[in-house]
Amino acid sequence: MFKIKIRAPEGLGSGQPQTFESSWGILDHAIDAIYDNQVNTLSFELLYHTVYSMVLRKQGNELYSNLRKAVEEKLFKARGAIAGPDPELLCDFLRVWEKQCDCLRLVSDFTMYLDRVYCKENRVPYVYDLGLELFRDTIMFPLKREIHDLLIQQINEARLGGPHIDFEQLKKVVDVMETLRDVDDTYFVHEFEPFLIRETECFYRNFARNNIGNAVLYIQKIKTQLDIESGLDCQFLNKDTSAKILKVAEEIVIAENTSFVLSDGLPQILTERDYSTLKLLFQLYHNPKDKSGLLKHMSQCMIKEAMLIEEDNTLKKKGQVAVKWTTEVMQLKESFEKVFATIGEDSANIYNTINESFSTFLNQNGKKTAEYLAIYIDSFLRSSATTDNIDQKWLENTVSMFKLLREKDVFEKVYKQQLSKRLLQQRSCLKTEKLVITKMKEEMGIAFTSKLEGMFKDIIVSQGYKAKFEQSYGSPFDFEVNVLTPPCWPFQLTALEPEAELPPTLERLKLDFENFYIKNHSGRSLRWAYHLGSMEIGFHFSKSYHEITMPVYAALIFALFENQEELTAEEIGDLTKIPDHELLRHLLTISVAPKTRLLKKQPFNKTVLPTDRFQVNHAFQAPTVKVKVLAVLPKSDANVHHNTRIDESMQDLLKERKGCIDAAIVRALKSLKAASSQSLYECVESDLSNRFTVTATLFDESIERLIEREYIQRDPDDPSLCRYLP
């Protein structure tokens, strides 16, 4: 049946001479048959051997161009079968495509020898690829406009929720585009994708324009739309393109319209604690650039909200004002944290934002804030003196607030003052205090808390003395001594004041203790700080018996009346040797202050003259057995005193800061030898950043001071350069 004779190797050149035309005739007929769906009548063997012998006869070139012409012709005919620009076009197009692919596959089957030998050696596309190229040029390119328009029309319809979208067809067309090559990539990448992206931009610009208005609604709408978009894309696009499209859409609806949402919508959303919208916002603003914008606005909103917290000046005491204010700030912070935890956005990023916002807020008035926080802690510790178990949550929150302060030295100063009072007056629980200090140490390092810890140490060591002292000396009273190390404590030394005169029993006790102490620690000297101590005296007034706790000076004055009926102020001063201003203050305390009139003063008024006379006020009454006497400030200078005290402490603080800066500069220069002012400033700033913020003025002053004192010098050639002088 097969008439074609396979030539023997010996006769490769010879054999029966076959003309190109007769061979091509066989193939041409076969191509027609293939396009007529009659492939099963064709002998593969015959066709293959025809091609094979043509290639061996070096007719590959001609064969290739004839094949090209034949296929082109078929494609051209097929192009005519595709109808006009209506929805049927895509159907027709796909039908033609499938048919062409099938036929091309068959043609390339019998031309496999041509592919392998001619095409490979001459670096031309294989027959199948040639067919695809022809398809692209004869059908795809001429129909490009219509096809693209139809596709985008359907895609946009789907975006608006159109129900009858044939995704399968879309997918098939996209597949065709991805199969066809163009330049060095696929037709899809080269032609359709850029078009699709442009159209997507258009669509979403429109969408954004039509929906700008209510920010909350806008957010919900774009969320829904973007969900539709991603659901849509995955049905007919590859992952890569889907991602690109989605990015373009997000870019437009989010990044391009971000100011409107964030400045108009966000404050409202945040104040109303609109969790679901917030959650959406975070989902939408997932890319890092958008997110950082969102967080920035978020932070501004939080600061604004925090600014609304006012100091309640209707309260009488400063302490109360501070506590209320601090509590509110902390509550606000906590509430923000809760907001973000609720919407599931509790990354470190968010907490940083909250912390930074509050830090900015708190440091707008740094000194006040530091003071308030210290007062707040003080009040809390005093109120929880009796409970052993501290509220860990409270501790965490407080310390986290403390961390945000920039002027930590102010805080330290106030805190130290209050801590000393609490410790000496035993107004709080030692264990709790210790916990707070440990926490601060964790945050700030050992340098910050070393003095505070020194105070603790003094107190604890002193408790040991008491037991030992009582063992060896015995005491007629319940006697408690705290030996304090001056540098740790925030008191000024009473160095030059003469010591007050004690009653003999007390004097003996004092000498005993001094002996005891010197014996244990030779070479140390003790100085008594009566103004910090207190004493308890029991006395039977005419109506009732009271145990009265009062400052040592007051007690000394009161004790004088054990032996005397009546004394003038001057006499009291002589007998006790109490410094004048203390005497005055304590006399007022126990004779004029309304609740603690232990003495009768004549004449009864609010000034004390040396001639004024005092007696025990036997008519004294109090609701409880125990009475506590609190020293008052002389009315005349109460306010002045208060202000000067603050000024004084501020002065101290400033002095301390200057010292710190000086030290830091010298420290830095010592290792650097020479540095420009700017870099030195940065160095010092970072060195001191956890204590306070270095200001330029302070820094410049320090430099001048150090130059004066010849620690450093300016470089003669370059005045901006500072050198260390050894």
């Binding site: 097969f2 064709l42 593969f44 094979y52």
Partner: protein, 518 residues
Amino acid sequence: MRIDGDNFKELCYWCRIGSVENVDRLVSTGVNLNLNDEFDNSPLFLASLCGNEEVVKLLLKRGAVCDRDRFEGARCIYGALTDSIRNILLAFDISKAVDSKQPFAAHLSSLLTDPSIRSHDIVFQFPGLKNIKLHKFLLAARSSYFEEKFQGPWMDKHLIKMPDWVPQKSLEIISRFMYLVPILHELGPTETGIAKKFCKKLELLDLLEHIDKARHIADPSEKSKLATESQFRFSERARHQMRAFVGKIIKQKICLPVEQTGSSERIKMLKSSVCIPDVFVAVCEKNRPGYRWFYPCHRSILVRSEYFKIMFSSNFKEASSYSQTPEGTVDRSKNFPVISFPCSDSAVAELILAYLYYDNTDISWEFALDVLVAADALFTDRLKTMAAVAIMQSTEFLNHHSIFEVLYVAWDTRMERLEHYAAEVIANDFKFYCHDPRFEEAVIKSSRRIQNRQEADTIELVDDIRYQLLKKHNVDTEEFEEISWDEVITEPSKTVLSPYNKDIEMLEALLNRMGLIA
């Protein structure tokens, strides 16, 4: 270990020399790769010692074992000439080594696991379970039990209903074994039990032997080694069986006039022969014009050639003359097509069949050229290489054929190796060929092989010959360049030419005469 004849010695030689083609050829004769020569060297050791990376790769692919925990394996690794070879050896994992296979075995396995065409002609039906579709001819070739069945009670059946007591698993294992799918590493105790029962019945003695041996080995590495050895034995046994089967095909061939087609009575008889064919290969009988030989063959095997694969998987007439039974097997009541081989000599056709059925690479020089051309037309590259090697190895060939014939065939079939060989032959006897007019013709033909040749383009054949002349006279190219400077200048009068220069001068003279610049 025992030394396995001359083939093994030759294999060792090529492993040292580094000829991938020759190693491939010899491995396909069934030489055991894991033997040692009289100096206790294994082929793998020799190849890695001599730095022949491609040979090492081929040996490992074909089943050579490199077990680093044993002396032989460790020795290969320490002896490896280059790091790259060492890495290949180190990457070799003995537990996976059973997967390495002979090409024909790999093809047989693919018929079961991933067939490119649907050519099954028998279905074993298990009630309620998946059917197993197989090829009758292969079962018959591999087991006399099936051979008898197909000649007897199952002759015209394509559907065998299996009784309840035969577990489906058993046929699964047996069929995998018969198709040379490596199964040994996946045989658990239950499978072993099942397999054992049926081995006896089907007389699969080599599998039985392996199971008995493996039972006493616990060490996993030892077990793997045994599995590799057994797998090797299985495939060699299969090779023998396939060889015998091809013997039957050849015995069955009939000579008929060209007009006779698939529907003639004689061919119908051939269809129901012991070979159980599903296609007929026709080859012209050169001594009897107008007559053709018909061989009863199998599509499943022919598709090893790319040409037949396309033919039978496309929708052309050849493939569409088959139809399927409802059970999905080939309908054997229909006529099968006759296809022809691109050769005009039954001996050549039989060599091609032997290659396709069992990797036969033993090609006699007399047919090598024809086999080469046919293999090119059939898209069977490995056979092409084997034919080329046969030409280059033969001492007789050039006594009967001219080297130019080889050269032209090499060009037509794009066998570069053979082109170089032709250049080498010409260079080695350059005095003779230089005056052969056929050489001139060849040079002209070579120059025309480049389309639109420019004056400055070289002629490939001349270049090849120049290179071979350098090799022949042991001239180092670098050394050569240095000499040409100094000596020409200092002693220009010296006319005594080296043998190399003599040859080159002859070549230049010839080119001048022909008016070619190259």
